[in-house]
Each structure stands twice: as structure tokens, then as C-alpha cells.
Amino acid sequence: MKIIRLLTAVSFLGFVSGTRAAELNLFAWSEYVPQTVIDGFTKETKIKVNYETFASGEEMLAKMLAGGASYDLVQPPDYIAEVLIRNKLLTPIDAKKLPNLKNVAPEFLGMPHDPEQKFTVPFMIGTVGIVVNTDVVKEPIRGYKDVFQPKFKNRIVVVNDNRELVSWVLVTLGLDQNDITPANLAKVKPVLAEWIKLVKVFDSDSPKTALLSGEVDLGVVWSGEAARLYEEDKKFAYILPEEGAHPFVDVMAIPANAENVDAAHKFLDYILRPEVSKLISDEFPYTNPNLEARKLLSEEQLENPASYPKIENYDTFRDIGKAATLIDQLVTDLKSAQ
């Protein structure tokens, strides 16, 4: 009796390790890959997807560097992808296995983070822009200078992201957003000091909350948040700041130590299908780079100014290495000083 039980246990173990091949470890942003898409993929391919989430690109990088976990597919933002490529932490993507890659708009391929288009597939594109509650703020708002005025003190929400804050001041001053030097930060400091005093809420996770509840009337937020606000109420206008707005591209990539490269390619091609990509847009209304999927979207979705703004500049964030410390120091200092 005992032997039979033991044998069952052993064969069960074998069964478990046998199915391991049919699993995909996905490491992606929280609230970015709809459950319906994951379920659809599993139903079709019998590959189980383990969806582990992170809340910032830096967190993702830290966990990848720490090792321990092996991911088959990760979803870094552009500048983190750049770091991963430079440090040879990614497996090249086999474009032959991705027939649906042709659906992606050419302007989102071969971008500065992956100039040879060898390691990444664009997932969604977003911008950081201004949201205005037009019921309350009647005057025209065109750029950062119009938002950060003393009369709007305590009426502003911004994302709680130090690098974003600094980049807005840099472009306002006509400087390069990626040129983080002590000299440039010295120029940023007095302007940012004034801006920070005007802000009521710093919130990266859900900046729309403060706008919806009427706690604030203006915001500088992720476009996906702005798009949802617009879906909620048309009074929330989205404006790309005239000083210059940078888009961000969240990509999918396969880590160098991935165990299931084949399943990763299958998943990539699956989400590049127009009808699947549309499901992602339905739930997370960022800019979909998939042109065939866009054809399936409703008029209303396409007309959402936050989802499909007129992007004129494609200067994304680049990796700034140790300068991240300088930014953190500056913003901590200014926030404490008020």
C-alpha cells in the first residue's frame, strides 16, 4: 500500500515537471495585460501563464538583476530596455516567429532604445501630458508654464516620479531632457522649487483619483490615466505641453536566461494579433502601436485625445545611469525645503 502511494507521488512529480515546459513566466506592469488576453492564450496553446507584476521600471530591473527568478518575458519601459540590451541581458527576438509583427506602425520600430530592432517588441505607447478640468479652469492651458502658476496653488496633481518632474523643467528651459548634469540641475533647481510648492498631490499609481473627486483641477499625468478620465467625463481635456512632451514606449522582451523562449515568442505573436491587441486597448487606453488593431477600435476610442494625441516628437527617455541619484537628491531636497 505504501509503495503504491510512493509511486503515485513520484509519477505525480514527473507529471508536474513534465508540464513545466508548458509554462510561461511573464513579468509585467501591474494593470497592463488583461486577464482575458492571458486566458485566451492559455486556452489556445495550453501554456499556463504566471503573471508577476511590478510597479516601476526600476523595480523590474532590480528584480531581474537580483536573479533567483527566471522570467520568460518581461515588459520594460524604453530606457530600462536600453540598459538591458547594453548589458546583454536579453535574448534576440526571432522575427520569423512573429508574423504579426508586420501590424506594428513603423515609427515604433528601431527606436533609440533598440536601434537594430533585435530585442524588443513595442507593447503600448504613452505620453505624459496635462489634464484640465475645463468646468473649473476656463482659461486656455497650453504648457507647463500655464499649469504651474501661483493662482493654481493646491489645485494640481502630478505623477510622483522625480525624473519626470525634472524633465518638464528641462524642456521648459529649452534643455535636453536626457542631459542630466550638475550644471543643468542647478538651472532646474530654482524653477522646480517654485513648481513643487504649488502641487497638492504627488501620485503615480492613480493620479486620476484626485481629479475625479474634484480635489484638484489640473494634472500632469500618464496619458492612459487621462484617457480613462476622458472616458468618464468629457470635461477632462488632455493637452500635450507646448514646451515638449516625451512619449514613452513600453516594450516586451525575452531575458537572456529565459527557459521557455518558444512560448515567449508564441505569446508575443498572440498579443500582436489585431483582435487580441484590441482587447488590451479596450482595457488600457494607451496608444496602440498595432495599426491593424486600431482599425478594430471604435470611433470613440480613436477620438480620445489622450489615447491618440498628435505626437510630433519621438524623443524618449534614455538611460541616465548614476545621474538618477542626482535627481533623487535634488527633488528630495526641494520637497523637504517647502
Partner: protein, 287 residues
């Protein structure tokens, strides 16, 4: 094992004793000693371009910890924690006292009420406070309805909101230890104080407070220490406008990718705990 332990028990713990202690010792080693050692080592290291820790000796992180900006943040965090602790004592003591003096059946029910909030996730309870405190929220509407205030309350995302959140989160940790002390207090001592001519105030000051001191000290430790490092409440209810030490440490591990500096802040923070614990231990021993 301490000297007194040996003399009290009359013998050293045997193999069975050590075996029973083993899980605890392993736990302590794996989750307290080793992480603290890693923290201490990292704090003297440097970071590379990627944010990985490089093992080359440097005291840069500590120089930064003791710069005015970060000392100011430490001071502010301590200030908020001290205010929270003071409010918790003022609010918590009467509650603990009443529960301790209640009949046995009521005592169990009242204690349950104190603990019920723990059945819900801390973050969900904090989000509930957002809906209460926002300017078109419950509190503001109520106060306007009964005409205590004229305009909507601008309470959320202010320092007041942070203190409300902190007091709410830590009040049970003040009530429970004081309750434990107050329950053991012999009523005859209070009656004796009255008989000997003590007024209520003097009885409170000279009999009740000294006898519940161990509970108060335990409560202070349980509230003050974690309140210094709290970062979720300052982010959610304070709007992340003014950084507390917890926020700064958290930032080092994610946005800034500067683990050595984060580790140095953590080490200094832990030393502060040790010192405050030591002071309280000495004072309660003296009492």
C-alpha cells in the same frame, strides 16, 4: 542564556530545550541577523551604473545621511511620530482603562472591537480614509450639514491628514498594552489612595500612572518606532508632498537605484530604534 536564567532554572537548557528553541533561533538568524549584516555591508559599498552594489569600501553614503537635508527629514519623521504617540496615549489610555474595568463579558466584546480593524487589509482601510476626508467626502459633508463649517474642508493631503492616518493605524497598539497593565492593577490600591485623602487627580498621577507605566512604555515603543518609518500613509493621505524617512529609503531601492545609500539610512534608522528602546528599558527598569 542570561546569568539569572541559569540560576533561576538551576540548570542549563538541555538538548530538548535547544531543540525547542531551534526554530526561533533559525528564524532570528535567517530573517534578522543575516539581513542586518547585509544591510550593514551594503551601506559601506558603492553602486555601479546599473544600480548593482559594488563591493568597494566607501563612507559616502554616511556622509550623505548626516547632511542637513536628511537630518531634517529624520527630525520631521520623529516629530510626526512623537505627536502620533502623544495623541495615541491621550486617546488610548481612557479606552484601555474603561475596557479593563468593564465586566468580563463586556471586556471580551470591547477588546474584539479594538481588534476588528485588523481583519481588513491596512491599505483598504487607508483608502477608506480617503473617501472620508476628501473635500466632497463624508466628514466634510457632515460638518457642513450640521453647519460647523461653511466651506468644504480641505483636509486630505495635509499634515493633519497624515497624523489622523497615523493615529488611526497605531491606536490599537497603544490600547492593548495599557489594557494589559490596567487589568492587573489592584482596585484596592485606588481605594486605599482615596481613603488616605487623595483626590481623583492625585490618585491618577501618583497611583494609576506609575502602576500602568510598563503598559504605557510598551505602547510608546509599539507606536513611536513604526510610526517613524511609515511611508504608505504619508504617500496616500499626505499626497507625498513632504518626504518622511520611510519614503526616502523606499526611493533609494526603486527610483534612485542607490542601494548603498538606502542601506546607510536603514542602518542609522535601526540604531535609532536600538537607542530609543534602550532608553525606555532603562527608564521602565528605574520605574
Amino acid at each position: 542564556m542570561s546569568q539569572s536564567g541559569v540560576s533561576q532554572a538551576g540548570r542549563r537548557p538541555g538538548v530538548a530545550g535547544w531543540l525547542m528553541l531551534a526554530p526561533m533561533l533559525v528564524w532570528l538568524a535567517a530573517f534578522v541577523v543575516v539581513p542586518m549584516a547585509i544591510l550593514a555591508i551594503y551601506s559601506f559599498c558603492e553602486r555601479d551604473e546599473l544600480g548593482r552594489v559594488v563591493f568597494s569600501f566607501s563612507t559616502d553614503s554616511y556622509v550623505r545621511v548626516f547632511s542637513p537635508v536628511y537630518l531634517g527629514i529624520f527630525a520631521r519623521s520623529i516629530g510626526y511620530a512623537a505627536l502620533t504617540t502623544a495623541i495615541c496615549i491621550v486617546l488610548g489610555f481612557p479606552v484601555a482603562w474603561v475596557i479593563a474595568r468593564a465586566s468580563e463579558a463586556w471586556r471580551a466584546r470591547l477588546l474584539l472591537l479594538v481588534m476588528i480593524p485588523f481583519w481588513t487589509s491596512f491599505l483598504i482601510r487607508t483608502y477608506a480614509w480617503l473617501t472620508i476626508l476628501k473635500s466632497d467626502g463624508l466628514l466634510s459633508a457632515l460638518l457642513q450639514h450640521i453647519r460647523i463649517v461653511g466651506a468644504p474642508l480641505e483636509l486630505l493631503y495635509t499634515p493633519t491628514a497624515v497624523v489622523i492616518g497615523l493615529v488611526y493605524a497605531y491606536l490599537p497598539f497603544m490600547i492593548l498594552p495599557i489594557y494589559a497593565s490596567a487589568e492587573k492593577l489592584d482596585v484596592a490600591l485606588i481605594e486605599a489612595a482615596h481613603d488616605l485623602g487623595c483626590g481623583p487627580l492625585r490618585t491618577f498621577r501618583e497611583v494609576i500612572v506609575p502602576l500602568t507605566k510598563p503598559g504605557i512604555y510598551a505602547g510608546v515603543l509599539l507606536v513611536f518606532v513604526p510610526a517613524i518609518g511609515m511611508f504608505a500613509i504619508t504617500d496616500l493621505m499626505g499626497g507625498a508632498r513632504v518626504p518622511m524617512i520611510g519614503n526616502v529609503i523606499q526611493n533609494q531601492f526603486f527610483q534612485a537605484r542607490d542601494w548603498p545609500f538606502g542601506a546607510a539610512l536603514g542602518v542609522v534608522f535601526t540604531l535609532m530604534f536600538v537607542v530609543s528602546y534602550w532608553i525606555l528599558q532603562r527608564r521602565s527598569a528605574a520605574a
